[in-house]
Symmetry: C2
Subunit: 231 residues, 2 copies
């Protein structure tokens, strides 16, 4: 038995844990090299010491679940003001070998652009792993949680605008189409795609810098329509 594991068992008192604890776990997605990637960190403690895991934290009595997510993003990844949404609550009895922990999973989306802005060294980016190449163990039920997140964003890409969250404010239509294709996991027809998103974007008068071929026009997301009245 490893040292850390023994220490954990010695300090474990069941009566401390006789009702479920609640944690949040965060599936933070971004795009790198045309692939969907997810933030993972080796665990520092038992169980699963050294195994890659999603960032998470216990929910404090005095904070809402959403606030726990914001705190987790800020404390563990130094990220702020990004899109996140509740995913699913995982509550199998034995999902954590220590004690009963119910995990409210959230997913979050951030552009690689914003990650570099927050952390110019690019260190954060090295913690992201392509979801299609996770041929390594994950702690707890975190593989299930990631898969649940991938399925959710694939579904939501069809009828919401979450794809924009993975791009900077300035983007080209080939870039935007690539994001949709990655999220949906299938190729799209250029002409149809453009007709469909035409009313969600506004063209700027700028073009991409010359790059060995025809430059592309730069677009922005159209601001959400005001819910206006006369008030």
């Amino acid at each position: 038995m490893a040292n850390g594991e023994r220490e954990f068992l010695l300090n474990y008192h069941k009566e401390d844990y006789d009702r479920p604890s609640v944690a949040v776990d965060l599936v933070l997605f971004t795009l790198q090299d045309g692939k969907l990637t997810v933030f993972l960190q080796p665990r520092e403690e038992h169980p699963y010491q050294g195994v890659l895991a999603l960032p998470g934290t216990f929910v404090d009595t005095r904070e809402s679940i959403d606030d726990a997510v914001r705190r987790c993003l800020l404390q563990k990844i130094r990220l702020d003001g990004i899109y996140f949404e509740q995913l699913y609550t995982f509550g199998a009895v034995d999902r954590d070998p220590r004690m009963r922990i119910i995990s409210v999973a959230y997913y979050a989306l951030v552009s690689a652009d914003k990650l570099l802005e927050m952390d110019p060294t690019g260190d954060v980016l090295t913690h992201f792993y392509p979801v299609c190449e996770m041929d390594f163990p994950l702690a707890f039920d975190h593989r299930t949680i990631v898969e649940c997140g991938v399925a959710r964003i694939a579904g939501k890409a069809e009828y919401t605008d979450i794809a924009f969250e993975l791009l900077p404010a300035d983007f080209t239509l080939p870039q935007l189409q690539a994001v949709y294709e990655i999220l949906l996991g299938k190729p799209l027809y250029k002409a149809n795609f453009r007709k469909k998103i035409a009313d969600k974007i506004v063209a700027t008068d700028r073009m991409t810098a010359p790059d060995g071929h025809r430059p592309s026009q730069i677009y922005n997301k159209k601001p959400a329509p005001e819910v206006s009245g006369d008030q």
Copy 2:
């Protein structure tokens, strides 16, 4: 201050509750008189004594969340083997005035038919209230939870087969169309509707009993295709 309320406050010891408790709350839908209705019960205890509330229960350390839902359905409504699915987890700090309770909300669907089968007196059916006529107070954040459930089944009716859960095994196409129209909240065109669901149903050779007009053919849901291979 009412008697029950004082008693509650006298017995309240904060230190008993210094981590969030986890409960499940259940939004059980059925159809009555062409309206979507939800199961509600007056609360027997403070807070919100006498106010209508969703059935719910605390999650025990030794059961999964889904098992807590099954137990709640069985103990509180005497229902078994019906369709249910996780809805959303509600965790505002002050959603329960007693203490911090995080509620994992589920929705469930049952045919009025099955309710009568389980409880031939029809007593259970009197606990269902039309979701469009809930002009009375609800306990806690239960109105929000019900609205969340209504929105979810409206969305899922579009791309899943949940509508069938609200009908008995034998149904007619006008009945099925009515269910879709109630869930989606909009009228559908008969001919188009029939083309679209044609591959999800099988006709029987039976017709509805004469009822003052042309009888209708009885259909069943087509069994889900086997995920077969050669094994």
